[in-house]
Symmetry: none
Amino acid sequence: MSKALIIEDEQQMRRLLRMLLESRGYEVCEADEGQRGLQEAAFQRPDVVLLDLGLPGMGGLDVLKRLREWSDVPVLILSVRDQETIKVQALENGADDYVTKPFGSAELLARLDVIQRRRFTRQSPEIVAGPLKVDLLHHEAQIGDEPLKLTPTEFALLKVLAEHAGRIVTQNQIVKQVWPVQTSDPSEGLRVHINHLRKKLGVRGVSIVNEPGIGYRLE
Amino acid sequence: MSKALIIEDEQQMRRLLRMLLESRGYEVCEADEGQRGLQEAAFQRPDVVLLDLGLPGMGGLDVLKRLREWSDVPVLILSVRDQETIKVQALENGADDYVTKPFGSAELLARLDVIQRRRFTRQSPEIVAGPLKVDLLHHEAQIGDEPLKLTPTEFALLKVLAEHAGRIVTQNQIVKQVWPVQTSDPSEGLRVHINHLRKKLGVRGVSIVNEPGIGYRLE
DNA sequence: GAGCGTTTTCACACCTTCTTAACGCCCCAG
DNA sequence: CTGGGGCGTTAAGAAGGTGTGAAAACGCTC
């Protein structure tokens, strides 16, 4: 049973949405105003949020921003405005999809399905290589059951190596993925971070071996 | 949930593509210029890239080449030009498929399906000669299932020989490909590296034979 | 602005790889 | 028979890549 939160000021629209959602098996809660919507989101912990952009008081975009500060719940935007700029702004601020009023019920439900499905498959994208686990979503890595405390760069580095575990990864490949914006001297700092990473990995079944003149390999 | 990256300068085309892809359940990110596209590819790690050949600044073909230096993500080329030469160039440089604008949405999605499906069974560009495999992207070589530990020069040498497996390769040809910047005495060091390579190949069904006065041949 | 963690830079020791040179072998021509 | 050219092999110095510690620069929070 999934729970949905509707943040929408027009009562008629709320009723319509509630009917639609409940017919689809959702548990529904509502809020008619932005501030209240945020409170409900915190209390009820919905699995999906339907958010009207044209809210009185705090605008829908602001609600979205505030919500995204602490939650990654899927958000479906509702709006009468078909303006590209606002749509883009909402998506850039973490909205998952966008429906323009008036909309067909079939379309709404289809889009809900999509972002719900996305949520489950996105749940914990992680890379496993032997005793090593790298959780991309939460930026956590662990060997066996012991968590590793890594800096962002170290994490990105480990991620690249773990993605191709057991195979050689060229220095070029590593640098381009860890430092996408070109920096001064690529291979200079790489050695240092490899060094740090090796120390943190220790001797727990995972090691980074160098292939001289080519790159590195995670075993 | 797959992620797609669109590298395309025309905004209208980007919008069209985004709609198409999102309706198909893709998560979409965009770039309107080549350099930025490469950065996005590194940041976002898309599962498929749609690349316009007619980009301003860095041409689409250059983007493809740069991308292929470190990534083997499937790439679908978009272009208005229906010229056979460019099409061939793109495919030779690692593009997976090619769509000519204007195209039907059904065609695009069908081709996307194909290269996505291919992605799982797909392997990186490699040269196979009997029991010998030379993986160019990962700089790995193996005989049967046993990996070979080669130095960069040895790898380059083996690559040249394997490319023309069974045929004679002139000493001149070898030297020019292994040492692009001309060094002092070509055939001097070549003998040494051939020697090293022979030792590492051992007696496992692959051998380098000399054609006196001409060059070498891989059997 | 101070303090802290992170990233980058730098210097130097160490190791692998490359180059060069030397030598012996085989084959073939003189 | 003999000398030379091409080749295989080995060894050693040269060149370049790598590991590591420390210091400086950077970015963020308080």
